[in-house]
């Protein structure tokens, strides 16, 4: 068995105090290095909540959540933030780039946040990242001047810049036309193949899910199916 990047055992997540709503129940999930997994399920099934837990943006109400072997229940807020910065890359549906920054400035952020300073070396690394997604020539453009597909490529470069063991992509192609969506998906796939980075992709597209190595299906806060795909 390979090392788990992230592991959930019996994870439950409730919201509310007076009226408690259980959003996730008894989640057991193990994602290993290099896996390319699709997370599917209808709206309201708890995908976003699960993604928040996997992204260390929230803590489970009950159960165990381990990242790179560390139980997050033992970490305080600052340690959790630092672990998130080192271990998780995020790609969002609406790219969520900082409009105040240029493309290269957006991409260097995870490195600069980790070191506490912005340096020339960060910029060089960010330019390399933009080159990898085919946008080196747009490095100093404000991201608002880029097309939707280009913005998502910048977001992917940003998510991968510090080589996180796990990349969480929340409907990364949901806001793109079919051709661009296909390009972006293939970009993610190619990075996965070239590295040991694990990808968990939330998608509503059965076609894209079918091109992943594994599909985890969530319904009403429970994992109802977890199957590998043979290509």
């Amino acid at each position: 068995m390979t090392d788990a990047v992230i592991e959930l055992r019996g994870v439950t997540k409730d919201f509310g105090e007076d009226v408690v709503t259980r959003v996730l129940e008894g989640i057991d999930l193990r994602i290993e290095a290099g896996e390319f997994t699709a997370l599917v399920g209808p709206s309201g099934s708890g995908k976003s909540t699960l993604l928040n837990l996997l992204g260390l943006l929230d803590r489970p109400t009950a159960g165990i959540l381990r990242v790179l072997g560390r139980d997050i229940a033992e970490l305080d807020d600052a340690e959790l933030t630092a672990l998130r910065g080192r271990s998780i890359g995020f790609v969002f549906q609406f790219h969520h780039l900082l409009p105040a920054l240029t493309a290269v400035q957006n991409v260097l952020l995870p490195l600069a946040i980790g070191d506490g300073h912005v340096t020339a070396a960060h910029r060089e690394a960010a330019l390399e990242g933009l080159r990898a997604v085919g946008l080196a020539d747009r490095a100093d453009e404000r991201t608002t001047r880029l097309s939707g597909g280009q913005q998502q490529r910048v977001a992917i470069a940003r998510a991968l810049i510090n080589r996180p063991p796990l990349v969480l992509a929340d409907e990364p192609t949901g806001n793109l036309d079919t051709a661009t969506a296909d390009e972006v998906f293939e970009l993610l796939r190619s990075f996965n193949r070239r590295s040991k980075m694990a990808f968990l992709i939330v998608t509503h597209s059965p076609e894209l899910a079918a091109r992943c190595d594994r599909i985890v299906t969530l319904v009403d806060g429970r994992i109802v199916e977890d199957r590998a795909i043979e290509h």
Partner: protein, 408 residues
């Protein structure tokens, strides 16, 4: 560059319009503070200079003479003594052992200069003209460090020999004398002496310019029949507004009456304090308005940038650094506003000084913008920016990244 500073500067650059308006608002506030402080400070300094141009900060003199009822003690116990106690006319009195007494103020660390003075009434006589005068015997070298009369000489110099006298400009005009002319002085006991006018001064105080006659200490002692004695010790203190406490301390130490300028000019002091309080109050309201202005812009910025804050938190930025991003914005807005405000404040002050002038072109209002004022105003603006940023920054730091990212 620290990441918090980097992001703060990018945020400020992105919101150029709002940033420019806040910088302008801070600038206006700092302009008001600089101009008002320069104007009030200049006016007060001018008033103090005019008042203290003719008097020492502290004057130490013997206690006034009071009558004692000698017979009351001798009378039998059952005898009623009826008496009418009349206040005696005050004479020129000497400070006993004044050289020894001078040691106490001289050793006081708040006192910068002590000078002995003998003073008393007399008459200045020239031909048939006679004027009532106040004769002062001084040690010129130390006296000018207490009352800068040498700066106010309109002709000649202060007396440096026993036969010389410097007189006020009005007195010179009244008697028709100039430097080099002879002048006879007569003390109230009738003794007279002839002096050569060595200098004429104008202190801008009519009473002084009409009545003061300055002699050397020795000549004054001889004329006023106080040989070897002095009637007062006059002091300059290091901190003008500590004069009263210094006077109280010296009075207790010497057993003499020590009176400060603050005591003899209490109405002026009250006016100055009221003026300062009004000025401070106006400045406090300006600072409050600027604080609210910066805070409101930053609060709006936190709301507008919720998603960006969430993204930064998701990428591992700590709450502390998020707080710092907004604190830096407040500080930078305050700093840039202070640059604008100081420049505008100095320009307005200079323009005002030029615009409000008398017929000879001399400024009616003495305005001086000095480095400490500029530094204080700049520090106030930067502190205001930082203080204004505290609440928005804390609010930003508390944002839940999961919620903030999904903010639309």
């Amino acid at each position: 560059m620290p990441i918090a500073v980097f992001i703060a500067l990018q945020f400020l650059r992105e919101g150029k319009t709002a940033s420019s308006l806040v910088i302008a608002a801070v600038g206006v506030g700092v302009t008001v503070i600089v101009f008002l402080s320069a104007l009030i400070g200049g006016l007060q300094q001018s008033l103090i200079d005019k008042t203290l141009g003719t008097q020492a900060h502290v004057v130490v003199r013997p206690p006034e003479e009071v009558p004692r009822l000698l017979r009351a003690d001798d009378a039998p116990a059952d005898t009623f003594v009826a008496s009418r106690v009349q206040r005696p006319a005050q004479r020129v009195r000497r400070i006993v052992g004044w050289q020894r007494t001078m040691v106490a103020p001289g050793a006081d660390r708040e006192v910068s200069v002590v000078t002995p003075v003998v003073s008393g009434p007399g008459f200045a006589v020239r031909g048939t003209a006679s004027k009532s005068v106040n004769v002062l015997g001084i040690e010129p070298s130390s006296y000018v460090r207490v009352v800068a009369i040498d700066d106010r000489l309109v002709a000649g110099r202060l007396p440096d020999s026993g036969a010389e006298a410097a007189i006020g400009s009005e007195l010179a005009a009244d008697l028709g004398v100039e430097v080099g002319d002879k002048l006879r002085l007569q003390a109230d006991d009738g003794r007279t002496a002839l002096f050569t006018v060595s200098g004429v001064f104008r202190l801008g105080n009519r009473e002084v310019d009409e009545r003061w006659v300055l002699l050397t200490l020795r000549s004054g002692q001889t004329l006023l029949d106080l040989v070897g004695g002095v009637s007062s010790l006059e002091l300059r203190v290091r901190e003008l507004f500590d004069a009263e406490t210094t006077a109280l301390r010296l009075g207790a130490a010497t057993g003499l009456v020590a009176q400060s300028w603050m005591n003899t000019n209490s109405e002026l002091l009250t006016a100055l304090r009221s003026q300062s309080a009004s000025s401070l109050l106006i400045q406090a309201f300006v600072v409050l308005a600027v604080t609210i202005g910066i805070a409101s812009v930053l609060v709006v910025s936190v709301v507008q940038k919720r998603r960006e804050i969430g993204i930064l938190r998701a990428m591992g930025m700590s709450r502390g650094r998020i707080v710092l991003v907004f604190m830096v914005q407040g500080g930078v807005l305050g700093m840039l506003g202070s640059f604008v405000g100081v420049a505008a404040g100095v320009a307005v002050a200079m323009a005002f000084r030029g615009a409000v002038a008398d017929a000879r072109g001399a400024p009616l209002f003495p305005i001086s913008v000095e480095l400490p004022l500029i530094l204080t105003a700049a520090a106030t603006a930067i502190t205001t920016g930082l203080v204004a940023a505290v609440l928005p920054a804390i609010r930003a730091g508390r944002l839940d990244p999961a919620v903030a990212i999904r903010h639309d």
